[in-house]
Each structure stands twice: as structure tokens, then as C-alpha cells.
């Protein structure tokens, strides 16, 4: 098994772990954290595809690597928006939960 396949399998596990945390945690900040774990796993999967495409003197296929860079930046922007929405929600309601008021 090559290093790329090993990291591909760990990317699969990362997505699974993040998905579990996303479903199970009630606190929205933990959900955002788990969502970022899923994102990291998906980017790692793309990176493994890039590594397997090493050719023409490069260590990896540059196109998926560029896609991952774009993805990391956009994921951060989305995380920032989500976190600020959560902060605003807590400031307004005094609690941070996604459950509706009864």
C-alpha cells in the first residue's frame, strides 16, 4: 500500500468521524468544528487524487491541488460567517442552541 492510499483511507475515516460529530453534538460550535473536520477529509481525498497523478516532473497533479487551495479559503469564509451568525444568535437569545423555542 503506498503512502497516498494510506492517506486516502485516513481521509475516509476523517469524513466519518466528522460526520458523527456533526450529527451527535447539540452545540452549534462543535457542529461547525466537525464540519471543518469533514472538509479536511474531503480536501485530503482530493490531495490523494493529485498525488496519484504525479507526472511530467511534478510531485503531484497541480489542478486538484489548486482546487484544494480554493476550497480551504472558501471553507474558512463559510466558517467565519457561520461563527458570526452563532455569536449573534447567542447575543440575542442568551443561549446557543439550534432548537426552536417551545
Amino acid at each position: 500500500m503506498s503512502a497516498a492510499t494510506l492517506y486516502g483511507l485516513s481521509a475516509a475515516v476523517l469524513v466519518g468521524v466528522g460526520l458523527f460529530g456533526l450529527i451527535v453534538h447539540p452545540h452549534p460550535l462543535r457542529k461547525i468544528l466537525s464540519f471543518n473536520l469533514i472538509g479536511g477529509g474531503v480536501f485530503l481525498l482530493l490531495g490523494v487524487v493529485a498525488r496519484r497523478g504525479a507526472a511530467a516532473g511534478f510531485g503531484g497533479d497541480p489542478v486538484p491541488q489548486a482546487l484544494v487551495i480554493t476550497g480551504i479559503v472558501v471553507a474558512f469564509a463559510a466558517t467565519a460567517l457561520a461563527v458570526m451568525l452563532l455569536l449573534r444568535l447567542s447575543q440575542e437569545t442568551g443561549r446557543s442552541t439550534l432548537a426552536s423555542d417551545e
Binding site: 503512502a3 479536511g40 480536501f43 498525488r51
Partner: protein
Amino acid sequence: MVFDIGLAVLVLGVAVWTTAARDAFAAVVGFVAYGLLLALVWVRIAAPDVALTEAAIGGGVTGVLLLGAGTRLRAIEATAPAGEKPGSGLQLAAGMLCVFVTGGLAAIVLLLPEPAPTLAPLAAAHLAGTGLDNPVTAVLMAYRAIDTLLETVVLALALIGIWSLAPDGVWGGLPGPRHHIDSDGVLTFLVQLLAPVGILVGIHIFWIGSVAPGGEFQGATILAAMWLLAMMAGLVEAPPVSRRWLRLVLVIGPLTFLAIGLAGFGMSGAFLAYPEAYAKLLILTIEVPVTLSIAATLALLVAGPPERAQQR
């Protein structure tokens, strides 16, 4: 290979710890460690540009964002009851779903086609025409430049979304809480030493991106981090978000990109097409304002919505 196995086990262990930690603060610390370890993994699969981006954005700025949010949330909800975790039935069902998803992805990884399809020869063949030596920068700024253009627009939209969360009374005011400057303080000392070095390193990483691993996103993140540090130490005051010069700095990147893209119709017959003789010059002309805009946008994304009214 032994190193790779150890690194993979470490990354998975930190990820599991981040999910299983009781305290939100511990989970955020675990997440920052996870980001830095992931940067090491990127180096091991020969993607140094991605490693720089992951360390800077995934480990650095996201950590600052989440730590700040975690602290403020803990202060806000100190007296609120915590949400209940779902019952063991739902946890078991979630676990089985995750095992199913992991198994599916692992099967895909093991069944990837051999030999692997790749665009690397195509990228290498046209590299000389772009005037760059770093293939990832060539993909970002020449082959898939429209993705990068839309990415800068997405960043600006996220910032507008965050600014729109300000309460009515402080609309257009100063982002973030007030930081008091402590002239004998340790943080002031650190920033006074670190900020010049950091700005130099950021500009260097941006500049070297055309021939070596690096580029505008990595350099812009370091510049944003230096501005954030200076704001946190109280050495510079966060600008009110209604200031015209601030808004100009934020949009000059996407606007320059768009202008050169539209000029591509006249110069080479297609959107974002560069005439071969001027490709490197045009790419540089795009990169400098884009780096400035992205640095300002990233810093303001972390600083948050306006919370204090500007003094008139």
C-alpha cells in the same frame, strides 16, 4: 512509510479527540493541532502550496476565529442550560451511517483507476507560456483563473454577510471589542518585534509564489494575521467599516481581476485570456491588488461585525 503510518494515526487520533472532547475549548485546541498535522500530511503527499495554505488558514486563522468565538460563547451562556446529547439509539444510527460513509469512501480510494488520470503533462506543456514556474500558481492564475476570481468575490460576499449582522445602532461602526494598549505589556512587545518580520515574510511568500511554493493566498493570510495581532495588542485601532478607503481596499482585488478579465476579450478574444507576451505582467498586476484585498478581507472576517459606534 513508517513515518506516514505514524502521522496518519496521529491525525486520526487528534480528530477523534476533537470530536469526543467534553469542553469546547479543548475541542478547538485539538482542531488547531489537527490543522497543523494535516499541513505535515500535505508535505508528505508533495503538495507544499496546500501545506502552506492549510497551516496558515486551516490551523492559524480558523483557530483564532474559533477560540475567540468559544470564549465569548462561554461568557454568554454561563447560566444557560446545555443542550442534551441525542439518545443512544440516535447515536448508534449515526455511527452506522458514518461507518457506511467511511466504507464507501475507502472502497473508492482502493478502487481508484490505475494508471491514474492526470492533467500534469498538459499543465507542464503550457507552463512556459504563462511565464510562471510554479504549476499550482499557473493553475490558479492562468488555467483556472475564473475560479480564483469567483473566490475573491465569495470572500467579499462573506464579509458583507458578517457586516450585515451588526445591530442597528452601531451600523458602520468599529468591528470587534475594544482592546486596551498596555505599553509595557508582553503582547505589545511581541507585536512590535513580530509584525515587521511577519509583513516581510508575507510579502516574500506572495512574491516567491510564481517560481516556488507560495502564492497570494498564503502571503495574504500572513499579512492579515499581522494586522489582527496589531489590532489585538491595541497598537492600531480597527477602522470603522463605513470608511471609504477600507471598502476601496477590499474591492480593488476583485475589480482589477474583473477588469483584466474583460480586457481579455479585446486582447486575446476570450474572458481572462492573457496575450502570451504579457502573461506574467498581467498576472502580477492582478496578484498585487488581490493579495491586498484578501489580506484585508481575511482580517476583517475574523474581527467580526461592528460592535462599537464610531466616534464622530
